[in-house]
């Protein structure tokens, strides 16, 4: 992307939170925020919708359940019906433990993979960072400077009262 980006580096979760809100209030669009740990409230500032992964997880878990039940019934009564201790071919109660475990397995592992995929996280991925301190003790707001009306200085002014450690501009391909 051509548009320049402006990054503000803060050293305190409260400051970054308020700075973000301020930024939003000024009608600027936040490109992203880098924090060492999740800070609640930022999603509003970035107006992120609640994740749909919950739904994804439900679907996967349900598929797991379905698979388990069908597999067991198919084996038990169609593919290989056997007289085991005089018990009926289809004994649902006996099938529940496996069904439950597969539900959890599919749901859990599935949703994790989806999450990694959506976040484009995978082993060996190159990460370009604004400031490597973002994983230690720095909080960085990155704003898109998509029209000239928003000047660097203006943004600096918005952020002033939240005493940023530094404000710098960087071009798109840096991250």
């Amino acid at each position: 992307m051509s548009a320049n980006l402006i990054a503000g580096v803060f050293d305190n979760e409260n400051d970054v939170l308020h700075a973000a809100e301020e930024t939003k209030a000024q009608g600027l669009s936040i490109y992203d925020i880098y924090t060492p740990y999740p800070i609640h409230g930022l999603e509003k500032a970035m107006d992120l919708k609640p994740s749909r992964l919950t739904f994804v997880c439900f679907i996967l878990a349900f598929m797991g359940l379905l698979f388990a039940i069908l597999l067991q019934f198919w084996i038990g009564s169609i593919d290989w019906p056997l007289n085991v201790g005089g018990r009926p071919f289809n004994s649902l109660p006996a099938y529940l433990p496996v069904a439950f475990e597969l539900t959890v397995l599919f749901g859990g592992v599935g949703v994790t993979l989806v999450m990694l995929f959506r976040n484009k996280l995978f082993p060996g991925k190159k990460s370009k960072q604004v400031d490597i301190c973002a994983t230690d003790d720095r909080f960085i707001i990155v704003v898109e400077q998509n029209d000239s009306s928003v000047s660097m200085s203006k943004i600096e002014e918005y952020w002033k009262k939240y005493n940023p450690v530094e404000v710098k501009s960087l071009d798109g391909d840096e991250i």
Binding site: L82, N83, V84, G85, G86, R87, P88, F89, S91
Partner: protein, 1009 residues
């Protein structure tokens, strides 16, 4: 197996064996087969079935091979490089012959597969054993494949060849004019007897001494005294309403146990009229198998028994209006008990039987006196057509020994017995045996005797040689070879005929003898050939009885046995059902067979009554040293209930040289311990305690002193909790697995009423209606005597490994079926109940549900099946089996004795390490019978299928059958009001059921009736 076992070896034997046909062409008769049809339809008034045709032609080949074996070229019985046209591989062929394991001479059938016998079973048609066979008989198969047998003639301890030994012996004999003796066990074979006398008669003051390691001589001596003839009566327990036995273990080891068991059980039919139900009183000082089955046990020492016998005789003589003479030194005994017995038997004259197992002529005299007074001779004891099952003569032995001492014996031929082992009690014999210049041992056993003799002429196992026998007067039976001899042995008869200078083949010897002597006694036979074939086919022949003229009973000869009460501790020596007199101590199956009472395997021990043990501060497993005079014996102590307080009981037959082989039996691993230390023997030889008292070998000693050595010895026990009651301190409830009732309650009793008041509701509708067959087993606890032959039968049939002492000690014996033994009552007055236990084949099996890999599932015929090759060995099924009948292969059990492997049943898989196994209800037999029926295109009849355990049961306690067949025997049994299932409340739906034991007791006598 009944009819299926009819076989036609006999005829072709005659037709094809070349000894009878000098000319070559007749060895392969082109008219052989038509002939055979003729013969068959004649002999067996039944038309020739395809099966018997196959058997016939099958035999013709076997016999040709047998013939060819004469010139010892071919070693393999049936080489399958080119399939012999008449032998069908995988089909079993049956030979009827006779069991040579002991002198009882039961009729047997051998199951041959691919030219080798793999199982011995009782011959259902045999008049004596009636299809029964004891544990030893079953196991004696292994003797045939014993790789440590002597198979080459031996000269001074080194192998030689027949020509040399024969020449040398004959040369030596020619130099001798007198003093040639035969020392053998009881000889039941007329031919052999005839041959021996042939030899003996050639020399002056020579003789044939018959000697039984465990002797019944006094019985015969006594009869000689009172009737003038030295005979053993033929006992008829089936005719006796009251049986009083003085220390005679007639169901276990005495004279002819299988025959007696059959008779005994026939007299104890719980469903019959209670009046006809026999009443059995056992006087004994230890708890014997027979005693454990008796209705009343009176625990008494030998002396006390003597007193009882005397008193009984006295009481009866009063009733008979005779006087019994005065009884010296009375011992105070329960008089009115004796009164009752006297009363009872007097009221049933001729319907009672008093037997005595104590080898003392004094006792036997009085017992004969009693039987005479009761008119039992002619009804329950037959001395006109007596039994020849034991002939041992202690007096003859005695003067043989004195002759030995005097050096009057120039040649001694020993056979069938192992005197160097069993006469260790006679130091004079042991010392003087070496004075004999020519000692010849005619035996295949490399035992103690083999060490001292100059020559060993290896004999053949009874399954590989011809032979004949006359167990009781009027009954003769034949041995026929079922396999081409393994090794270079020679039958006893041939060896003797060699001594006579002419080497006549065994079968010729027998045939000629029969033609001359036996055939004449046979009625209604067209030709000798015919008679011979018939006999070979049946395995036996009933001939005219040789009626013996007896004098009238000589009352003056009988006087009260003098009994001297000894207060000190005494020893009694007894035979175990497994080890008998030690003849079979080479046999691992028997060594590992749990004693029915003590449940101990691998070795003998000194049984002591609990009270005495407490007195002496002896605990189970303590090593104790018993000393009588100068003789000492080290043994582990065993606490035995139901035993006399002043008696120590020790089993004979242990500590033999041939048991040394077991030093390396069983799996070896980090913490394993050998069954015995190298060079050591299994158990110790208690024959050292035998002694001679007025002319008879005595198997008891007085004044024994016991010292604790302080060491501990392992007892390999298969059952450590001995009652059906849980320990007192843990609640002490009685469990109802092994149920018993009083005879008087039989009609009113309902075994299942306890549980069936409210039938279990099913959670789900039954998916599995067993519409075809539904196999089941019914076991009558009242019939089971605990003889354990089923255990061995099962082991042989199903290739069950022997695991050795250490593994048994760790409670890992592999027997698929066991016999649980429970005591009730107190230490002195104890009741015993036996419960055969194997897989119950539950329709709602708890073991199947828990197997993760479906390695055990249910068959459409209600069998609980174990799939060996699918099993991964989680042992969950075994844990979840309420009956603990599943057995796990903890190790790879050795199968490295190639010869012993010949016993392996090809129908049953050898299980590998790490998998579960258990009773399959002999599923291979089920399939065999099914295919047979299919081939014949008939439907399975009840009784076509006989599992090994049922087959071996001499008491017919086990019945297998189809529960869906309304007319099957098992169905009637399941309807019997004594019938119940184990743990009914658990709703396992077992197809194996039990019939409650019946006790012929009055209410107050019974413990948990």
């Amino acid at each position: 197996m009944g009819k299926k076992k009819k076989n036609w070896k006999g005829i072709e034997e005659r037709e094809l064996t070349p000894q009878f046909h000098k000319s070559l062409e007749s060895e392969f008769p082109e008219d052989g087969i038509p002939d055979l049809f003729k013969e068959e339809s004649e002999v067996l008034k039944s038309d020739l079935s395809r099966r018997s045709f196959l058997k016939a032609s099958g035999f013709s080949l076997t016999s040709v091979l047998l013939a060819s074996c004469i010139e010892r070229k071919v070693e393999k019985a049936i080489p399958y490089i080119i399939k012999p046209e008449a032998i069908i591989p995988g089909r079993s062929y049956w030979y009827s012959t006779t069991c040579g394991a002991c002198e009882a001479q039961c009729g047997i059938l051998t199951k041959n597969r691919d030219g080798r016998p793999i199982k011995i079973e009782g011959n259902p048609d045999h008049p004596l054993s009636k299809g029964g066979l004891c544990a030893v008989g079953q196991a004696s198969l292994l003797g045939l494949y014993d790789s440590k047998r002597i198979t080459e003639p031996q000269k001074e301890g080194s192998s030689s060849d027949w020509a040399t030994v024969d020449n040398e012996i004959n040369k030596k004999l020619d130099a001798i004019t007198e003093g040639v003796y035969f020392l053998t066990s009881t000889i039941t074979s007329p031919t052999t007897r005839n041959l021996i006398s042939g030899v003996v008669d050639k020399y002056q003051n020579s003789g044939h001494v018959e000697y039984d390691a465990v002797s019944h001589s006094s019985i015969l001596d006594s009869h000689e005294k009172v009737f003038g003839n030295r005979v053993l009566p033929h006992y008829r327990f089936d005719r006796a309403k009251t049986i009083i036995s003085f220390d005679a273990d007639f169901l276990g080891t005495w004279v002819s146990p299988v025959e007696f068991t059959k008779d005994y059980i026939s007299g104890r039919n719980a469903e019959g009229n209670p009046e006809d139900y026999s009443y059995h009183v056992q006087f004994e000082s230890r708890l014997s198998l027979t005693g454990s089955n008796s209705d009343k046990r009176i625990i008494s020492t030998k002396a006390e028994m003597g007193a009882y016998i005397n008193l009984l005789a006295e009481k009866l003589s009063h009733k008979a209006g005779l006087s019994f003479g005065n009884i010296q030194d009375k011992i105070n005994i329960d008089e009115n008990l004796v009164d009752n017995f006297a009363e009872r038997m007097w009221s049933q004259k001729g319907e009672s039987l008093v037997v005595c197992g104590i080898n003392s002529i004094e006792y036997q005299n009085v017992v004969n006196y009693i039987n005479e007074l009761l008119g039992n001779y002619g009804s329950t004891l037959d001395i006109i057509n007596p039994s020849y099952q034991t002939k041992g003569n202690d007096n003859a032995l005695a003067d043989l020994i004195s002759k030995l001492n005097e050096g009057k014996v120039n040649a001694l031929f020993i056979s069938g017995c192992n005197p160097l082992y069993s006469l260790t009690g006679r130091s004079d014999f042991m010392a003087s045996i070496n004075k004999v210049p020519l000692k010849v041992y005619i035996s295949d056993q490399n035992d103690e005797t083999a060490e001292v003799v100059n020559y060993i002429l290896p004999t053949l196992h009874f399954l590989e040689s011809w032979g004949d026998t006359e167990p009781i007067s009027g009954l003769v039976s034949l041995y026929q070879p079922t396999i081409n001899p393994i090794g270079n042995g020679r039958s006893f008869n041939e060896s003797i005929s060699a001594l006579l200078g002419n080497k006549i083949p065994n079968d010729t010897l027998i045939k000629t003898y029969w033609e001359e002597n036996i055939y004449s006694l046979a009625e209604g036979k067209t030709s000798f050939t015919h008679f011979w074939s018939q006999t070979l086919n049946d395995g036996y022949a009933v001939i005219k009885k040789s009626e013996i003229k007896n004098n009238n009973f000589d009352f003056n000869a009988v006087k009260a046995a003098n009994v001297k009460k000894s207060t000190a501790l005494g020893i009694i020596l007894y035979q175990k059902i497994s080890m008998l007199n030690g003849k079979h101590s080479y046999n691992p199956w028997l060594q590992e067979l749990p004693d029915p009472i003590s449940k101990i395997t691998w070795g003998n021990y000194a049984s002591i009554a609990p009270k005495k043990a407490e007195e002496l501060g002896i605990a189970e497993g303590d090593e104790i040293i018993l000393t009588v005079d100068d003789v000492q014996l080290k043994l582990p102590a065993q606490i035995q209930v139901g035993q006399h307080n002043d008696i120590v009981a020790i089993a004979l037959g242990y500590g033999t040289k041939s048991s040394k082989r077991f030093s390396d039996i069983g799996p070896k691993w980090l913490q394993s311990e050998p069954t015995i230390i190298k060079g050591d023997t299994v158990g110790s030889n208690s024959f050292v305690f035998t002694s001679m008292s007025n002319g008879n070998i005595t198997y008891s000693r007085d004044n024994v002193s016991i010292v604790k050595s302080g060491a501990k010895m392992k007892l390999a026990v298969t059952q450590t909790h001995h009652t059906i009651t849980v320990p007192e301190n843990l609640g002490g409830q009685v469990r109802d697995h092994a149920r018993e009732i009083l005879l008087k309650d039989v009609s009113t009793y309902h075994a299942t009423s306890i549980h069936n008041q409210n039938k279990q509701k099913e959670l789900w509708e039954d998916d599995f209606q067993y519409t075809g067959h539904h196999w089941g087993l019914a076991i009558d606890l009242n019939k089971c005597t605990g003889c354990s032959s089923c255990v061995v039968g099962c082991q042989v049939e199903n290739n069950i490994p022997v695991v050795g002492m250490d593994e048994v000690y760790r409670r890992r014996e592999m027997h698929w079926m066991r016999i649980d033994r429970y005591y009730s009552g107190d230490d002195e007055n104890v009741d015993v109940i036996y419960q055969p236990m194997m897989c119950q084949h539950c329709d709602h099996a708890s073991c199947e549900v828990v197997c993760p890999v479906l390695a055990t599932v249910h068959s459409s015929e209600g069998l609980n099946q174990q799939v060996y090759n699918r099993c991964v060995g989680t042992r969950y099924c075994a844990n979840n089996c309420a009956f603990k009948v599943r057995r796990f292969n903890w190790f790879d059990y050795a199968h490295d004795d190639q010869l012993a492997n010949m016993t392996l049943n090809p129908d049953v898989t050898i299980r590998t390490r790490g998998i579960m196994e258990k009773c399959s209800l002999c599923i291979h037999r089920i399939h065999e019978a099914k295919t047979e029926a299919k081939r014949k295109n008939v439907s399975l009849a009840d009784g076509d299928i006989v599992p090994a355990c049922m087959q071996s049961c001499s008491a017919d306690a086990i019945v297998f059958g189809d529960l869906n067949d309304p007319n099957s025997r098992i169905n009637s049994l399941t309807k019997n009001n004594r019938h119940y299932h184990l743990l009914e409340e658990m709703n396992f739906r077992p197809t194996t059921g039990y019939l409650a034991k019946v006790r012929n007791k009055t209410g107050e006598e019974s413990h948990n009736g």
